[in-house]
Amino acid sequence: MFQAFDPREGKRLALLNPEGCLTECASALPHPTDEEVLEAYRVMVLARQADEWAVNLNRQGRMPTYVLNEGQEANSAGALLALRPDDWFVPAYRELAGMLLRGLPLHQIYLYWHGNELGSHLPRETYHMLPISVPVGSQPLHAVGLAYAERFRGTDRVVIAFMGEGATSEGDWHEALNLAGVWKAAVIFFTQNNQWAISLPARKQTASPTVAEKAFAYGFEGVQVDGNDLFAVYAAVRQAADKARAGGGPTLVEGYTYRIGPHTTSDDPRRYRSEAEVERWRALDPLLRLERYLQNRGLLGAEEVREIREKCLARAQAEFEQAERLKDPSLEDTYRFMFRELPPPLKRQLARRRA
């Protein structure tokens, strides 16, 4: 399916160039409708504005450590656009655009970063999504199990699991790919290779020229796509999902992208990488590229761009206030979800704490 883009031959799937023009081969591949592209664009703008506002809040002392998405929005946006709403979504923690596309309210996402577990309250049949996963590389295994459960129950749902390139050094990641290969699990492993795992550059993470080619050792295909290109991400994930739904097993998609911002608001990347490098990647901004495309196509005016941005900023501000207004968790909340029913030791500990 991805023979034309074999990462072992140094090939990368890219459809939308930095000037916002689609290459010729785009028409031969699955692509989103204009309406879907506009939807993804709005969500990516909201994600960008939400991040900027969160950094602002962090400096004001109103938001603890926050993870930023700048420069990577097209990866999760393109991927989620290519999937059905009932396909499972297993995020890492840099998939804000995808979460918004899945329908998760921004105030709930803010609530999580603000310090309330209620932000991860994701009823199974509402979002078909697992909470953010902090232990790097651990969550792809859950995707394999979810895929097994869906097949066992006879559905044709597929599962997408996200992780960074740093996660590909973890044992659990390899176990997930191996199990998925053996079980022909309907999983799309999506690695956002953003070049940096906090301060470690990708070349020191793995001696493999690409992440994508690791898939072949597990008996399935891998493809590297331009992760700053919504159309390339969509095309790869859509094909991988169609294949998985038809029983063709897993695919590893590597979104080749860049983390423009720090790892989190607590990190200072100037200590370990050059501004010149960041500037080179800024020119490849996925949002800017999509904006040019939409303008080239006459689907978006300059005035509208400004308007959408302003509306998104206002919405981010309002959604944070909504999160901030919510009552803090109670003492009981921190105990009562340890088990479905509190066992005696926890009852005793809670009573003591209350006293």
Binding site: W88, E117, L118, S120, H121, L122, P123, R124, L130, P131, S133, P135, S138, Q139, L141, H142, A143, V144, G145, L146, A147, Y148, A149, E150, F152, R153, G171, D172, E175, A176, N178, L179, V182, D333, R336, F337, M338, F339, R340, P343, P344, P345, L346
Partner: protein
């Protein structure tokens, strides 16, 4: 009624649970075609098919991680970790995900999985096969930890674990897998997790143990009875949650406690049992609560194993010391 060994009762429990609930899956290394290295899953694949009982690659973290996904997806995975020491590889999945998903999702998601693994030494096994990890599992928070010492309890506790809405670690006393037989009902029944069992009633000393160590504890109670001493024997059965009241209640009657387990002493279950007694029966104590446990060493290989394991005679001697104590 049929008379079964402990490992046969486990197989029977799995079969009964799989029969009653079509979402129960059993998998792990060599559990499918082979029926498990200890034969605990013998015949299940033949009966329920490969989708419900199957072999996995050698991937303990993978087995538990995938089981988490299955459990969230509405299935009831019962996984086998072939030998205790290999469970360490799965700690990341257990501690970071299985144990805490209900809490971190504020009750929206849960992980009703069961992890079965052999417990303890005394079977002249190779390295890393004889671990006693109950305190580690219990300390993770969010996991229930049980360990039977009889065939009847094994089946009932296993079915309770499978029906439990939260993750349960089911430890199997490998040393006594085949050493005793007991009548075990054909039908489905459960034993409540978190409840200890008074196996022998007595009035002078409370002797607490669990798992394979119950074998020597029983022999010690017998030997002490022959010397005219009345010992109450409690099988803890659940490590978490601990039945603190059963132990404290017994000590309020006897005034003396001895807890015996194979696991290392420091930060072990015995410390928790002693605390339960100090908190719940302090005024009744006629002797300092005592513990007789494995040392903080690694269990030696076959030739040195006897230095580590606790023999009946040691329990008798320690019990007599506690009984002789005068305030």
């Amino acid at each position: 009624m049929r008379s079964l060994t402990l490992v046969e009762a486990i197989t029977d429990g799995l079969r009964t649970a799989m029969q009653a609930d079509p979402t129960v899956l059993v998998f792990g290394e060599d559990v499918g075609g082979e029926g498990g290295v200890f034969r605990a899953t013998a015949g299940l694949q033949e009966r329920f098919g490969e989708a419900r009982c199957f072999d996995t690659p050698l991937s303990e973290g993978g087995i538990v991680g995938a089981a988490i996904g299955m459990a969230v997806g509405g299935l009831k995975p019962v996984v086998e970790i072939q030998f205790s020491g290999f469970a360490y590889s799965a700690f990341n999945q257990l501690a970071n995900h299985a144990a805490r998903l209900r809490n971190r999702s504020r009750g929206a998601l849960s992980v009703p999985l069961v992890l079965r693994t052999p417990h303890g030494g005394g079977i002249r096994a190779p390295e890393h096969h004889s671990e006693c990890m109950e305190a580690m599992f219990a300390h993770m928070r969010g996991l229930k930890v049980v360990i039977p010492s009889t065939p009847y309890d094994a089946k009932g506790l296993l079915i309770a674990a499978i029906r439990d809405p939260d993750p349960v670690v089911f430890l199997e006393p490998a040393r006594i897998y085949r050493s005793v037989r007991q009548e075990v009902p054909e039908e489905e029944y459960t034993i409540e997790i978190g409840k200890a069992r008074v196996e022998v009633e007595g009035s002078e000393l409370t002797l607490v143990s669990y798992g394979a160590q119950m074998k020597e504890a029983r022999e010690a109670v017998q030997a002490l009875a022959e010397r005219g001493r009345s010992v109450e024997l409690i099988d803890l059965r659940s490590i978490y949650p601990l039945d603190a009241e059963a132990v404290a209640g017994s000590v309020r009657k006897t005034g003396r406690l001895l807890i015996v387990h194979e696991a290392p002493e420091s930060y072990g279950a015995a410390a928790e049992v002693v605390t339960a007694v100090v908190e719940g029966a302090f005024e009744y104590l006629q002797a300092p609560p005592a513990r007789l446990t494995g040392a903080d060493t690694f269990i030696p290989l076959a030739l040195g194993e006897h230095y580590y394991l606790i023999r009946t005679g040691q329990i008798v001697a320690e019990a007599e010391r506690v009984l002789a104590y005068e305030p």
